[in-house]
């Protein structure tokens, strides 16, 4: 039951007297630096398609990791909420479908889009928290499917099958934010911010209580917590992450259509979170990177091997299955176990658990 990491979740103020800057682990400096100078190393395709997409999908899956890892609730509606965010930016903002789009400035359209997506996510959560386990998955899958078919059949607001194209980010500070390096930094900023906020909240009263609700809802109730309200609030927060991701995703492809938020993409988000690992907010980003690499290069790899490129989904499926088979808690779990093994005494086999 003790999934809390005491070293990480202790709420007592640190006593070693170091400032917060000094307590940032070395790995953060290294990864942060590499990510910052990436545009100097990588090409445009790598920046825009691989990393941009990784950060966006990671951000959407981060919401699922927050719900699943800290709250014990698995929702398949994250991609639909992202879809709502994307659609609302297209509807309230500017797109090529000017018969529907209202053309409001970005600083009005984006907040409205975020609020509507969060309302949608909160409503989803309000329905879903009454259920547990497999039933939560079923009800959120049903909501995802309903949203997909609704968007495809509604032409008045959602423009049906074809959706909206020409949905572009604003030309803020004179920068074309769809340029490779600019888009890379834009998505990196939101991904990093989302990551840090989730990490911070996991140790704040709200996040700690959410983990308490996951481990022992009856006890939390007997401590004065409204378990239902806490769970619904977690959905609201996860929706904010999804909505930001959804808007970025719409800008990346400059369009949004029902397929963006279909059932396949909804399940892909779950796959990404599970591959990466649900125990730590870095998991969804690792999962998203693996997913994007597979999705982008699986066809080439198969063709190189002299196989039919159409079978790329099979390769993705095999990769997913083998990761889940070897490590049920994803890449993070695999990493943790390797690190533990290295500390183990080779003769006695003991000492692996010691810090």
């Amino acid at each position: 039951m003790s999934i809390f990491d005491p070293a990480e979740t202790s709420l007592a103020a640190p006593s070693d007297g170091r400032s917060w800057l000094e307590r940032v682990p070395v790995a953060y400096w290294v990864v942060g630096l590499i990510l910052l100078i990436m545009p100097a190393i990588a090409g445009d395709f790598m920046l825009f398609q691989i990393f941009g997409w990784t950060f966006i999908l990671g951000l959407i899956a981060l919401g699922l990791m927050f719900l699943g890892g800290y709250g014990g609730m698995v929702s398949l509606a994250q991609m639909s909420i992202a879809g709502v965010g994307g659609y609302m930016v297209a509807i309230f903002g500017v797109s090529a479908i000017d018969t529907i789009s209202l053309g409001w400035p970005w600083y009005v359209a984006i907040p409205i889009a975020l609020i509507i997506a969060m309302l949608f996510g909160t409503l989803t959560g309000w329905l879903a928290v009454r259920t547990e386990g497999i039933y939560t998955i079923m009800i959120t899958l049903a909501i995802a499917a309903a949203f997909f078919y609704f968007a495809r059949q509604n032409y008045v607001m959602f423009n049906g099958f074809s959706g909206f194209n020409g949905v572009l980010p604003p030309m803020l500070f004179g920068v074309d934010w769809r340029g490779a390096a600019a888009f890379y930094y834009l998505t990196l900023f939101w991904a990093a911010l989302g990551y840090l906020v989730v990490l911070y909240i996991s140790r704040a009263p709200f996040g700690l209580a959410l983990q308490g609700v996951r481990d022992n809802p009856r006890r939390m109730s007997a401590l004065g917590y409204n378990v239902t309200a806490h769970r619904v609030a977690a959905y609201t927060f996860a929706s904010l992450l999804a909505a930001i991701g959804g808007i970025l995703l719409t800008w990346q492809s400059a369009q949004i259509s029902p397929g963006t938020a279909g059932i396949g993409p909804a399940i892909d988000i779950l796959v990404i979170a599970v591959i990466g690992g649900m125990r730590h907010p870095v998991g969804p980003f690792i999962g998203a990177f693996i997913y994007v690499i597979l999705k982008t290069y699986a066809i080439d790899a198969l063709v190189t091997l002299g196989l039919s490129g159409e079978r790329f989904q099979l390769l993705i499926g095999i990769a997913f299955l083998s990761i889940v088979f070897w490590s049920p808690d994803g890449i993070i779990g695999l990493w943790d176990r390797l690190r533990e093994d290295r500390k183990r005494d080779p003769l006695t086999g003991r000492g692996g658990e010691e810090p």
Binding site: S2, I3, S10, A12, P205, A209, G212, D215, L223
Partner: protein, 267 residues
């Protein structure tokens, strides 16, 4: 110790508002699990600062009584009033926020967290910071009251230990600390002394006797010695019904109670 627990509380205001109402007033409370009657027509009245022991054999309905009062399971029939307010249909967290507290017979603690963090979690639960997205700072008031509670239950030396590493007796003390978080008005102790060594038992009695005098409680206890030392009145339960009520001396001398306890009629 009074000062410690009273810090920042609104007990006197609440007492003023509720006037002379009883802390607990149960009328005709029954609880059925399907066809099984766990509680039958229970009437209990407890004054605000009263300390009551509930005795009875296993299966007498003592813990079920607590579950109905605290809201873990709602009562099937009857009404429950807490300081005059009808709480019969309230969810557990609403009862807790009104100043009711309970401990569990089988510890329901967060074993992966430290002692201090468990108590801190209990302190946030009854505060407005429940939904706070901000981490507590160095001079956080709730963290300070958590530190105070650590002292109240004599766990200073273990406050940074992970709960899983605590002894059984220390875990029982932690249970009590969590029930004291915020501004409790009335506490339900579910067999706090069960499984404790004689030394731990006397430490527990010391903690219970040392609670602020305005703080009433009901304690479920098998051990007559503990019960009689901390309680001023006793309720005997048997087969889901109230069997006898009275002062400790009356209960001890009662021939029917003696027959029940010594006759081996019930386990």
């Amino acid at each position: 110790m009074n000062a410690v627990l009273d810090a920042g509380s609104t007990i006197s205001e609440r007492l003023g508002a509720t006037g002379t109402a009883n802390a607990l007033e149960l009328k005709g409370v029954s609880k059925y699990f399907g066809a099984l009657a766990a509680l039958i027509d229970i009437d209990i009245t407890v004054r605000p600062s009263e300390r009551r022991a509930v005795l009875g054999s296993n299966g007498a309905g003592k813990t079920t009584l607590f579950n109905c009062v605290a809201g873990d399971f709602p009562a099937t029939t009857g009404s429950i009033r807490f300081f005059g307010e009808d709480i019969t249909r309230f969810p557990p967290h609403e009862r807790i926020r009104r100043g009711l507290r309970r401990t569990y017979q089988i510890s329901l603690l967060f074993t992966g967290l430290t002692v201090l963090d468990n108590i801190f979690l209990a302190c946030i639960g009854v505060s407005r910071s429940r939904f706070s997205f901000l981490q507590p700072g160095r001079d956080d008031a709730l963290m300070a009251s958590a530190e105070n509670l650590v002292r109240v239950v004599h766990l200073e030396d273990a406050k940074d230990e992970q709960v899983a590493t605590l002894s059984y007796g220390q875990q029982r003390q932690l249970e009590i600390a969590m029930a004291l978080a915020g501004a409790p008005r009335f506490i339900l102790f579910d067999e706090p002394a069960a499984g404790l060594s004689p030394a731990e038992r006397s430490e527990l009695i010391e903690i219970l006797v040392g609670l602020p005098t305005h703080m009433g409680f009901i304690i479920i206890e098998h051990d007559m010695d503990v019960a009689l030392r901390v309680a001023e009145s006793v309720t005997m339960m048997h087969n889901g019904r109230i069997f006898k009520e009275g002062s400790p001396a009356e209960i001890e001398d009662d021939p029917e109670v003696q027959a029940l306890y010594l006759g081996g009629e019930v386990g």
